[in-house]
Amino acid sequence: MNNGKLLALTAKYFLPLLLFFSLVVFFRGHDQPGGGFIGGLIGAVACTLFLFGYGSDKAKSLLPFDPRSLIGLGLLLSLGSALWGSYHNQGFFKSFWYEVALPGLEPFSVGTPQFFDLGVYLVVLGSLMIILLSMWEE
């Protein structure tokens, strides 16, 4: 059981790190290697580690939604950001960029493609989790 404990311990400390890393990879994706696919995959790796350490019940409680809903939300987000252009009568998938100024941060631009990418992130994460969880439980 020593092995299992070690794994659990690793998972516990690595999880936030890996998740943070996955988000970083996701966010910088539009300009440097990374993005939704890769970010989602790293997120899934993080969750896998946790799953191996703590089992499926705890892993499930880790996510705010069950993976199925995560996929649904991701798809909806992607679809929505694609339809944003249609809604503004500019055409399906037409990208829109907005300048955002938050207090304490430099102004940066946020675009529908990034929301689309976030959708991809969620779908990748959700799908892999659902696969892993069902296989684990089997």
Partner: protein
């Protein structure tokens, strides 16, 4: 309706997405399936009339210009295919609501149905080869899951064969796409149409095009690639078989039709002789196969193959009349085959029930003959287009 093409395409995806949302946010699954498919049908009809009134509709995704962004194109043929897809989707949803076990319904049956419709709609409006590949993948994965949904032993065995063979087809497709992109620098069909005419025939391009042709032959269920069809169609619930019978092979035939007119003809590399042979053998082997079977669903599956042969024969003649014959036959086949599968389900259902035991008895004593009789009726109805084919033959 500026983006008329979009509705039939996006609606099924939206339906599938909505049914994946957390339980407390979503509507009644069955109602959504029914209304969604009905709306798909309605929007396809609207698109049809829009095309009738204003000509071919195109849409550039993301407003990127033509060969660079993805183009969606819909002409009357695409719209007709969309309509029939919507119709089949709606009818099969109705039928499933009545016949399918609640377990399968609660394990994602309807979202999967939506995704199949989504993929097929995508194929019918795709104006780009890679985009087409994506739609093929969408259809493949969704139909694979539908095929195995329920996890019965035969379903799994059939599913493995189905997905392996079609996966090989995807590999061939991707290989072809890669090679074509390497040589032509574009995958937009309209762009290819223009550029292929400038390329001298006889180069390695013909090998590339052959990859694509073989892929579509596999998808259509032609000789010698039809194994996946009889192996898979008879195993899932009859509503799924009916859906497959209606759409899967026809998607292949549709793409072949486009492929011949948009790619092979301008390139000067016409494999029409090859296609005729494949078509002829497909017809014969399909009929012999159907004849040798005793299970209604297997008979129907083989019979589809033989009818695919007829359609391919029509395409291989490359004359407008033969093509219109093939298209007519395709529509006829979609409706008739779906109908037959669903009827088969009804018969099987009634045969086991006491209420209509007389009908059940009637069918039992009629047996194979009764089924053959249906075929006869079908071939009869299918003969006028046959005439169309032969007219064009020298």
């Amino acid at each position: 309706m500026k983006e008329g093409i979009l509705f039939p395409l996006i609606l099924p995806l939206l339906m599938a997405t909505l049914s994946l949302l957390p339980r407390r946010w979503r509507f009644d699954r069955e109602l959504m399936a029914l209304l969604g498919n009905l709306a798909h049908l309605v929007f396809s009809l609207l698109l049809f009339f829009q095309i009738r009134a204003h000509g071919v509709q195109t849409l550039q995704i993301g407003a990127w210009p033509a060969p660079f962004g993805i183009t969606l194109v819909a002409d009357l043929l695409s719209a007709s295919m969309l309509i029939i897809t919507g119709l089949v989707g709606f009818l099969i949803t109705l039928y499933s609501l009545g016949s399918l076990d609640s377990l399968r319904q609660s394990f994602g049956y309807f979202p999967l149905l939506h995704v199949v419709v989504f993929g097929c709609s995508g194929v019918f409006v795709a104006g780009d080869l890679f985009n087409l590949f994506v739609w093929f993948e969408v259809i493949l994965i969704a139909s694979f899951v539908l095929l195995t949904l329920g996890g019965e032993r035969e379903q799994i065995i059939a599913g493995v064969k189905y997905v392996t063979l079609n996966g090989v087809a995807s590999t061939f497709f991707l290989t072809g796409i890669g090679l074509l992109y390497l040589q032509m620098g574009t995958l937009n069909l309209a762009d290819l149409f223009g550029k292929l005419a400038q390329v001298p025939a006889g180069g390695v391009l013909s090998l590339t095009l052959l990859f694509l042709l073989i892929t579509f032959l596999i998808k259509a269920g032609s000789f010698p690639f039809f194994f996946w069809l009889p192996a898979s169609y008879p195993t899932p619930p009859i509503a799924v078989s009916a859906l497959f019978a209606a759409l899967l092979t026809k998607v292949g035939v549709y793409v072949l039709l486009r492929f011949f007119s948009l790619v092979l003809l301008p390139s000067g590399v016409v494999f029409s002789g090859l296609l005729s042979w494949a078509a002829g053998l497909t017809m014969v082997l399909g009929v012999l196969g159907a004849w040798s079977q005793m299970d209604i669903r297997r008979i129907l599956s083989f019979h589809i193959i033989s009818q695919i042969g007829y359609m391919l024969m029509g395409i291989s003649f490359l004359s407008p009349l033969a093509l219109s014959g093939a298209i007519y036959f395709m529509f006829h086949n979609i409706t008739a085959k779906t109908n037959l599968f669903l009827l088969g389900g009804v018969i099987a259902l009634l045969g086991g029930s006491y209420r209509l035991e007389q009908l059940g008895g009637l069918f039992r004593s009629f047996g194979l003959l009764g089924t053959l009789f249906l075929f006869a009726a079908l071939s009869l109805a299918g003969i006028p287009p046959l005439a169309g084919f032969l007219v064009s033959s020298p």
